[in-house]
Structures are given as structure tokens and as C-alpha cells.
């Protein structure tokens, strides 16, 4: 956990009071809606179909139990008793009143939570691996660097009015859980030959209307130069990124239009001109930030405690354990994923009561710490294995022990037309229907790892391009239609999925997905071959034939 100091606290309080003044000026009419729009967007407030939507940042996906309780409090006090965890380690409230927003922000600020730059054309919440600091084999905890970047990007005087939004993601593991290749800047932590920390820097990834996989702009930037190099990228983008067309304004388009070599050259020239920058991070500064991260005092525990041996006789427990429990870097401990994808439920939602209960369980079993992942699930990162059976029962009671993590019903979906004013089609009911179709655990288990991503419009908040199966809502003659892609992925081998055929109407989506899955089961050469690997091996054609043969 990162502990705010007096300076961090002062800054977010100053931001709350500024926003309070901005809301006051809007309510009094001193600010026009157009003027206010930019100001509210800089603080995570959108105007949706029915109400204001409020997006709160959970930097690098780490929360304390105290913070989670406060998120529950905001849901209960200012909203309708629930919140929605997003694909970028944020939580959204969908029914908040403008006049209540400053108070909600002030309540959050008391526990070191803010909503700065969770929307708008600026540098957004810095995301990271939700298992940072606990994943076996991780090079080092990437959250130290995420926090340095969080501070650097917060209220930046030069880059708060960029051509378009700008997203960072960091990973320090070989397996990329942070989707760095589909971010404006993706950072992969590495060590050089001298054992010094640095980053492979990727640039120009992104989804939306024109998806691109990020390209490596520099294979190694030393940790001390991370901020100055990032500043060079941002400065080139701020000056040359397109501002004439919102759909061509992301850095990915600039990188694409210039070509990565030319773009890299521009950045290098700028970086050289910056010279010995005040942004250089000497070791003591990095250590200062590192020292404010606290880590649990783990016990020396056996690899296989008796409690776990006994519980292994319960098939329901085993089913959950095999699905939702993953190895921890410390012996005797596990990382436990809490599925926010119950059968028939909207993906990523949690009620205030669930949040409170999870906070209590985190105190009891996970050193008071909770993580939020980009798949819209939560995790308890430090659970002693002996506690797993008791924890499972408690999680099951509150409905977050569905054993479907990474399975076909672990669907990522945007809010879609049920909430969002940009959407062309509904996302949530599609997800709900699919979770019903595949509710049989044995079937889902047989299918294996399969990520379905649903976006209600081309803006791609549900990351459909990189879903193993991607579902994109479009509008055709005033009706909801859905384009389906297969073979996308968001990990270290990130790829954009391929369209399988013509769009299908709302009522047929679940049937088509079932057909695709059946085709896969027939086509895979062995049970271990994952859906994406079968698509990679065979291409789209055999799937297309089977799905569209009868349509």
C-alpha cells in the first residue's frame, strides 16, 4: 500500500475545493455548460443518458479496506447502492447528483482517493498489473513507478489539455495482465546487464475506432530517465497530435501517420534538447517513494496446510480453488480473485454491502488489502492458504465466489446503451444472456480460457478488439446489431481480432456465440489448445463457415 503524506493530502484537498467552486459557478450559471464540461471531465464527471456519471480512480488497482469501505459509503450515500468497476482500475457511479459531487469527493479525499483526470483529454489513471508485488517471478513491484508516474501526471501544467485522452499501463511480469500493448504508453519493466531498472517503452497502442497494437519506441529507458522520456513523448504529441478530428487525435494516429521511426526520431531530438532535466529521478527519490509502500509481515507457513487438505474433499471448494486461487510469491499464501461476474449479473458491479463485506474479509484474511483488475474483478492479494476454505464460504455467501475467472462467462462489458449516451447498442443484457447460456460450470470448464469482450459502440470501452471473442454493438436502421470478431488478445501477444462475418441482430448474438464455441470444441486439436490458439492456427474461415452456414 502507498501511504499518502501531508503533501499528497493537501493537493487532493485543494483539488476538491477547486472543484467545489467550479460546481458552484455552474449551478449559479456563471459557467456555461460548454465551459463546465471540460472542467467536470477533468474530474471524472460525465453526463450520461439518465444522470451524471462519476468515475473515481483506483491507481494501479490497489485499495485498502478503509478505502473500499469509503467507496461503499459513496455508493450508499450519493448513489443507488452500487458501483461499477471498469477495465481501467476505476469505479463508476451512475446516478450521482451534480450538487452532491463535491461532498462525495471530499469524503473520498479523506482516505486518499480522488477522481482527477479520470476523463477528459489528459493523462488518465496509471494502471498496472493487479497482482503487482505478489506475483511469482515479477522483476520488481511496478507500483513504485506507477506512483511516480501518477504524481508526475497529476495536474500537469503542460499536458492537461492534450489533443485527446492519454493512458499509461505498466507491468513487471512476463505475462502481461495490464494490457500494456493497447495503451498510449505501455511500460514493461526490465533490468539491464548491470542489474539496473528500466523500461521497454511502447507507444501508440489503443482501441476505439482505429485499433492499434503499441510499438516499441525504445527497448530500454533507464528508470532515472523515465519521466523525462515520457515528457518528451507527451511534448511531441501535444504539439503535433491532430486536433482537427476527434477520431484522429489519439497518439496512435500520429505514430501511424509519421511511422514509428520518424516519431521516435522526433521524440529523441526533443529528449536530447531537454538535456539534464529536473525530471531525472535519482535513486534517493525513487527510494523515498518506495519507502512509503508498506508490505505485509508474512508468516512462515507450510505449502500445504491441513485445512486445505481437508477441504480438498469438497468438490465445490476444489472447483473454486482451481479456478480462482493462484500462486503467491510467498510460500503458504495465495492470490484470490473475486468474480464480479455472477450468472445473470452485469459484469463488474458490486453493491455497497458487498464492498463492505469484502473490506472486512480483506482485514481478516488479506492484510487489509484489495486489488482491482482490468477484467473487472477484485482480488485479495495475500491470503494464507490455511484460510482459503473459510474465505471461500464467506465469499460465496456474498456472491463473489462464482468459479468462472478467465472462463467464457468472465465477460468484460462496457455499460452500453443502458447508461451511456455514446452507445449504439446494449452491452449488459448481452453479457447477462451469455452468462445464462454458459452457466453450467462443467461446460465452461471444458471450454477453458476464453475472454468475451463487449462494447456498445465503436469507442470500445469493453475492449472488444482484444477479446478472444469480441462483440461490438452498432446501429442499423434504428436497430441494435452486433459485429463479432475472433482471435483478439490483450496480453504480451496482443492482437486485434478479425471480423467473422456480417453483423447479427440483438436476438441472435447469444446463438452465434454458442455456435462459435461449438465450432471451437470441434476444431481444437486437443483440450489444452485454447480458443485463441485454435483461431491462430486455423484462421477465421472454418469458424465463419460453421457459424454462417445456416444463417
Amino acid at each position: 500500500m502507498y501511504a499518502y503524506d501531508e503533501l499528497d493530502r493537501t493537493l487532493i484537498n485543494e483539488r476538491v475545493s477547486e472543484f467545489r467552486d467550479q460546481v458552484k459557478r455552474r449551478l449559479s450559471g456563471e459557467l456555461t455548460e460548454d465551459e463546465f464540461k471540460m472542467l467536470r471531465l477533468q474530474n471524472g464527471v460525465y453526463l450520461q443518458l439518465h444522470a451524471y456519471m462519476f468515475r473515481v480512480a483506483i491507481p494501479y488497482g490497489t485499495l485498502s479496506s478503509k478505502q473500499l469501505r469509503r467507496l461503499a459509503h459513496v455508493a450508499r450515500r450519493y448513489d443507488r447502492g452500487y458501483g461499477h468497476f471498469t477495465t481501467r482500475q476505476n469505479i463508476q457511479y451512475n446516478w450521482i447528483k451534480l450538487a452532491d459531487l463535491p461532498d462525495a469527493l471530499a469524503d473520498l479525499a479523506e482516505v486518499g482517493i480522488h477522481a482527477m483526470q479520470t476523463s477528459g483529454n489528459n493523462t488518465r489513471n496509471v494502471t498496472s498489473d493487479q497482482w503487482a508485488g505478489v506475483a511469482p517471478g515479477e522483476i520488481e513491484d511496478p507500483r513504485i513507478w506507477s506512483e511516480l508516474l501518477r504524481q508526475y501526471t497529476t495536474l500537469h501544467p503542460e499536458f492537461s489539455f492534450l489533443p485527446r485522452k492519454f493512458k499509461f499501463a505498466i507491468t513487471a511480469s512476463e505475462h502481461d495482465r495490464a494490457a500494456i500493448k493497447v495503451h498510449d504508453i505501455g511500460l514493461r519493466l526490465l533490468k539491464n546487464a548491470d542489474g539496473e531498472t528500466g523500461f521497454e517503452v511502447l507507444v501508440g497502442g489503443g482501441l476505439g475506432r482505429t485499433p492499434f497494437i503499441g510499438k516499441t519506441i525504445k527497448p530500454f529507458v533507464h528508470g532515472r530517465d523515465l519521466l523525462s522520456y515520457v515528457e518528451a513523448i507527451l511534448r511531441v504529441y501535444n504539439q503535433y497530435g491532430r486536433r482537427d478530428n476527434i477520431y484522429k487525435a489519439r497518439i496512435k494516429i500520429l505514430v501511424h501517420e509519421l511511422g514509428i521511426e520518424k516519431f521516435a526520431k522526433e521524440v529523441d531530438e526533443e529528449w536530447k534538447l531537454m538535456g539534464d532535466s529536473a525530471l531525472t529521478l535519482d535513486n534517493s527519490v525513487v527510494e523515498e517513494v518506495r519507502s512509503r509502500f508498506s508490505y505485509p509481515a508474512y508468516e512462515k507457513l507450510p505449502h500445504m496446510p491441513d485445512e486445505l487438505k481437508q477441504a480438498a474433499h469438497d468438490p465445490l471448494f476444489e472447483r473454486w480453488r482451481k479456478n480462482s486461487v493462484t500462486p503467491h510469491k510467498v510460500q503458504g499464501y495465495s492470490i484470490v480473485t473475486l468474480s464480479l461476474k455472477p450468472v445473470g449479473g452485469p459484469p463488474g458491479d458490486a453493491t455497497a454491502d458487498q464492498m463492505d463485506a469484502i473490506a472486512d474479509l480483506a482485514d481478516k484474511y488479506s492484510f487489509g488489502e484489495i486489488r482491482v483488475g482490468h477484467e473487472q474483478n477484485l482480488a485479495l492479494p495475500h491470503v494464507a492458504k490455511r484460510d482459503l476454505p473459510a474465505l471461500w464460504k464467506a465469499l460465496d455467501r456474498i456472491g463473489v465466489a462464482t468459479p468462472n475467472v478467465n472462463l467464457v462467462t468472465d465477460i468484460i462489458a462496457c455499460p452500453g446503451l443502458d447508461y451511456c449516451s455514446l452507445a449504439n447498442a446494449r452491452s449488459i443484457p448481452i453479457a447477462q444472456e451469455l452468462t445464462r447460456r454458459f452457466s453450467n460450470h462443467d461446460t465452461a470448464s471444458l471450454i477453458g480460457r476464453l475472454h468475451i469482450n463487449i462494447s456498445g459502440c465503436i469507442n470500445a470501452c469493453g475492449h472488444h478488439h482484444v477479446g478472444h471473442i469480441g462483440i461490438l454493438g452498432v446501429e442499423k436502421n434504428n436497430e441494435e446489431y452486433y459485429q463479432i470478431t475472433i482471435g483478439g488478445r490483450a496480453d504480451e501477444n496482443a492482437e486485434v481480432g478479425t471480423l467473422i462475418g456480417p453483423a447479427v441482430p440483438y436476438a441472435e448474438v447469444a446463438d452465434v456465440i454458442e455456435d462459435i464455441v461449438e465450432a471451437y470444441l470441434a476444431l481444437r486439436d486437443r483440450p489444452e489448445e485454447l480458443f485463441v490458439d485454435t483461431v491462430k492456427r486455423l484462421g477465421v474461415e472454418p469458424f465463419k463457415e460453421r457459424v454462417y452456414a445456416t444463417r
Binding site: L7, E35, E158, S160, N238
Partner: protein, 171 residues
């Protein structure tokens, strides 16, 4: 529109000369970049003060040779969403060492004052009178800054390091 300079409401002594308008014989003038560059050598010889209005999509390289001869560079915010002039301001101050007046023009609202000050602006053509009047209190709003810029404000990281040193010295 009101001009705020060095933190106070000020009278603008510069005549804004539009494209195509006749240049006055004397007096301080602020003229568009293209017109300035057409005749930069002669204009720089004028006895009275001269400033230039520099668009946010024009490379600063063309201006750099004349920086010691202009007393004002006015940068432009065609809309408050367009942040290119923040980069230009920092480059003028921090890279090219421009010491004259750096003026923010166009869509300038109170909500940008702190960003602008930090980027190096010291004069503001403020769109709304109420915002100009609120300048002094608005810029006091923030006391903590995460990024180093050329404005000299001490960053949070530096304050922490100083605190560490004084703590270890007192032990």
C-alpha cells in the same frame, strides 16, 4: 476582456495591430507573427516596444532569432481545450530563456491560471471580468506541485527530500 499582469489588473499599453491594418507611426504594438516575420529586421528597429502574437501551430524556431528584440510574446488559446501554447510557453522560458512578457490570449478562464503560471505566463488577457478580478485568490488555490517547471516552485518530491535531510540531520 481584462489584462492581468504581474498578478494585477493592468492597462494594456500595446495596440493590437490586425492583419492588413496600418501600422501606427509610434507607440507600443503587438502584431501577428506572419506580419512580423515579413519585415522583422525593420520592425525590430522601431523605437517603441514591439510584441508578437505567435499562433500555437507555428514552430518557435522562426521566432527564436528575434527573442531579444521583442518585449512581449502573446501565445494563443483558440479554445480552452487546445493546450499547445502551454508547451510553447515552457520552451520559450525554459529552453530559449525568454525574459520578456509572456501573454496568454484567447479563451483564458480562471481555471487555467495556475497551469499557465507554472508554464511561464506572466500576463493574461482574461475573457471574463469576474475571472480577472478573482486572479489573486485563484492562484493561491494550490500549494503543492508535483512537476518541476521553470517557474521555480518547489516540487513535492523535492520538499520530501529536504524534509528527509533535515530529519536525518537533527537526529
Amino acid at each position: 476582456m481584462r489584462l492581468v499582469k504581474q498578478g494585477r489588473i493592468a492597462t494594456d499599453i500595446f495596440l493590437h495591430v490586425a492583419d492588413g491594418a496600418e501600422l501606427p507611426e509610434d507607440g507600443a504594438i503587438l502584431i501577428p507573427a506572419a506580419r512580423f516575420l515579413e519585415n522583422a529586421e525593420t520592425l525590430s528597429q522601431r523605437a517603441d516596444k514591439i510584441g508578437v502574437i505567435w499562433p500555437n501551430n507555428r514552430d518557435l524556431d522562426d521566432l527564436v532569432p528575434y527573442l531579444d528584440r521583442v518585449v512581449v510574446v502573446a501565445l494563443v488559446f483558440p479554445s480552452f481545450r487546445d493546450g499547445r501554447a502551454y508547451s510553447q510557453a515552457r520552451l520559450l522560458r525554459e529552453r530559449y530563456g525568454f525574459k520578456g512578457e509572456l501573454r496568454a490570449t484567447g479563451q483564458v478562464l480562471r481555471d487555467q491560471f495556475v497551469f499557465m503560471l507554472r508554464a511561464g505566463f506572466d500576463a493574461f488577457e482574461v475573457k471574463k471580468d469576474a475571472d480577472a478580478d478573482a486572479f489573486a485568490e485563484t492562484v493561491k488555490r494550490y500549494t503543492v506541485f508535483y512537476q518541476p517547471t521553470g517557474d521555480g516552485r518547489v516540487t513535492a518530491l523535492n520538499r520530501r527530500m529536504q524534509l528527509r535531510h533535515s530529519e536525518s540531520a537533527s537526529q
